[in-house]
Symmetry: C2
Subunit: 417 residues, 2 copies
DNA sequence: TATGGTTTATTTAGTCCTGAATAAAGACGG
DNA sequence: CCGTCTTTATTCAGGACTAAATAAACCATA
């Protein structure tokens, strides 16, 4: 409650690495300012990192009126991470470099309902790892559509996957002998956004995802809000209409059941806009082609989303809302209903809240998951627990080859509470 | 000697005082555990505080198998704080001791719409201060129904008061020459709950207030969530019904317009349950007397509140929800609709979320405001800014003059609730 | 070309805090 | 009564970090 003393040096060392990964080469002076430590300490820390071979001194940067800065950059071979997205019918992988860039990606069919789902995902992941580079693999980040007890534990509850207390983290750790961090996929996306995206400039923002499900990642004071059981941001189950359609969660009329992908398809089918087996793609095509009824489906969804988001903005008072997810492909149709509904539902002092829609890529979810690993350096609140410490250790150890210590398991670091 | 250069030590020093105020006499060992610092440091810090006369060594507590603890207690004369609640038609004051207990209180008529409102409240406050005790006055806490930019600044936006960018903090500071902290009243209440109430045992909880308005105080990781402009928790303006009654904010169908006090009275009048000038008290009396139509008004409000709260629980994943406010007087009627609506709208993993209804007193709002001052010791995140530092300085300075005060026994600290 | 101004990096002295060892003070069982 | 155990409090050596002074490197300008 009072002060967090602790072994902060470790966090600081790798916060430098993370900053360089996210921002590119930086001078010691800028690093000290960015990380809010004294220049003296920065000299000390970078000396160690240079000696360890994790950092390299680059060219001098042109002077800005005084002594020119000697830039420091990451040594590219310092590490990489793998991100995994688990969906009901497939898993997606990406491999990212230490600076956050995607090196390669893949997607494989997968059945989350199979009894062998854990060994299946392990095997697929093993194959993906095998095809990877030679630089040290720092860890695995896994994103799931559901609640995760702790990132460093990885017990998953997910209605969408039909999983109940599934030990994803423990299994993968045991099988792969790598640090594994598991998190709700929207929260992982919010962390990625904070590290590499628009969120860099904001301390308080909301990541709103539309697609199969409807979700929110909540960032407060620069940190993702997880809630007591890791289930914060489940806005897809905000009750809207007690007589509405059945939701995967068992209740009726949840937001997600109405404007999630399945909900939109259902509405479109009922209205005869798409066929009995028509999908969201057909609906979007129709809307794009000028079908007003099809466009109305999106627009009405946008209207509802706008009203719900207004409630969230009143509740959380964010500086900006970042819209992401597969559904953004049809955002031009959503926005027609969304914007007026949002603005007219806000109290005057919030009416100017910013909304940004970012471009979406197929591997964005997996990239978000990978950022769980790359974000551990920032983890001064110990969200990642002992797995985060493991990642940091790997970052430091890989640089000193003589440290060929035998396979020793992570010392059970007695997680408090 | 009195003023320490480092803010960190300062925070720790007063965290001790706050803990003793909230928890009563405590041993050094327990303090070290509670504040998460080493016993060594605790010895050091308490030595200083004892020398400064802020702490006193009390009787030995019975041994628990080992060396018996020497309890430390607050010296009651170390300070007091004043809390102010500003409402559209009155202001309320309380004076609290350093342990959080109410020493005296008052309520005065007031017109927030008058052009002289700031000088009015200043004058009333001046009079209240004049009637107070002789122990050092640490500062003033002010609770307002609206958004406050920063506690240490005190620029207020409030639809309920009809205030726009009113410099409450600056004015009071200038006129009274005391530290002044201003905060949204529900947030202040949440802080009080965290310091002295049920919230002591929870890191993540929601304070839900029903009464004139509907509000929420959001506590995440033990800290009140303010949002980027200090307006988080404004759940009263969550849009419910686009065709609903007009709200003070200018929109239609806000939650507060429907189930806030005025909304309930409006409904009751429309249904002929109370007269044209009937108030909420008449409605409650009718319901208490067995009038089913009157009870239904509350029950329906409870139903709506339960559904909205379910959305909040999904969004924020709190451990417990604490219900407060004048409206709790009729909670027995609310709960009839509230409980089933809440539980049936929650996804299964959240269905067990705890809900506690605490007893409400007239001066609770003002007491919450006062806790802004008493909470500054906990303020490691610097929420209170320079005003918080001022409070801490006053706490330390006042003790120095008569440093040779004899070992006096501190009176037993009462539990404030 | 000397002089001063600016920005970056390092060194130095000192503060805050911790972990570990030690002392203090009782309970308890034989 | 004695030794052992447990819990509390203090002392001490050392690590992390900072502020301030200093050094280093460049620019501008009379």
């Amino acid at each position: 409650m009072a002060i967090r003393p602790s072994a902060r040096t470790d966090v600081n060392r790798s916060a430098i690495l993370a900053h360089l990964g996210a921002q590119g080469p930086t001078s010691r002076a800028d690093l000290a300012r960015a990380l809010n430590v004294s220049p003296a300490l920065m000299t000390q820390l970078t000396k160690d990192l240079l000696a360890d071979g994790l950092l390299a001194e680059l060219e001098h940067s042109p002077s800005q009126g005084g002594r020119p800065a000697r830039m420091l950059g990451l040594v590219a071979t310092a590490g990489r991470a793998i991100g995994v997205k688990i969906a009901p019918d497939h898993v997606a992988f990406v491999e990212v470099g230490i600076a956050g860039g995607v090196l390669r990606s893949a997607s494989e069919p997968f059945d989350a309902a199979a009894s062998t789902m854990l060994s299946d995902v392990t095997e697929l992941l093993r194959r993906f790892i095998a095809g990877g580079g030679k630089t040290p693999l720092l860890g695995i980040g896994v994103g799931v559509p559901g609640a995760v007890d702790r990132q460093g534990s990885g017990l998953v509850d997910s209605a969408q996957l039909g999983w109940n207390q599934v030990p994803v983290g423990a299994t993968l750790r045991r099988e792969l002998d790598l640090p594994v961090l598991v998190e709700n996929n929207v929260n992982a996306l919010a962390m990625a956004e904070r590290l590499y995206g628009l969120g860099r400039q904001y301390e308080d923002f909301l990541v709103l995802t539309i697609g199969t499900g409807i979700g929110a990642g909540i960032v407060v004071d620069g940190v993702v809000l997880r809630g007591v059981s890791g289930g914060a941001g489940e806005i897809g189950h905000i009750p809207i209409d007690a007589e509405g359609p059945m939701c995967t969660c068992g209740n009726r009329g949840c937001l997600e059941a109405i404007i999630g992908q399945a909900g939109l398809e259902r509405t479109a089918r009922e209205r005869g806009i798409i066929g009995a087996h028509g999908t969201i793609d057909a609906l979007r095509s129709a809307a794009d082609a000028g079908d007003e009824a099809a466009a109305a489906v999106f627009s009405e969804a946008g209207h509802l989303l706008g009203r719900v988001l207004a409630g969230l903005v009143h509740t959380l008072d964010p500086e900006i809302v970042i819209v992401l997810g597969e559904g953004t492909a049809s955002w031009n149709h959503w926005s027609f209903g969304f914007e007026p509904a949002l603005r007219s539902s806000l109290i005057s002092s919030r009416r100017g809240v910013a909304v940004a829609v970012e471009t979406w890529q197929d591997d964005s979810w997996a990239q978000g998951a990978a950022s769980l690993v790359l974000a551990t350096p920032f983890d001064s609140d110990d969200v990642a627990g002992d797995q985060g410490r493991l990642v940091r250790e790997r970052l430091v150890e890989q640089a000193s080859p003589q440290q060929t210590a035998p396979q020793q398991k992570a010392p059970q670091q007695g997680e408090a509470q």
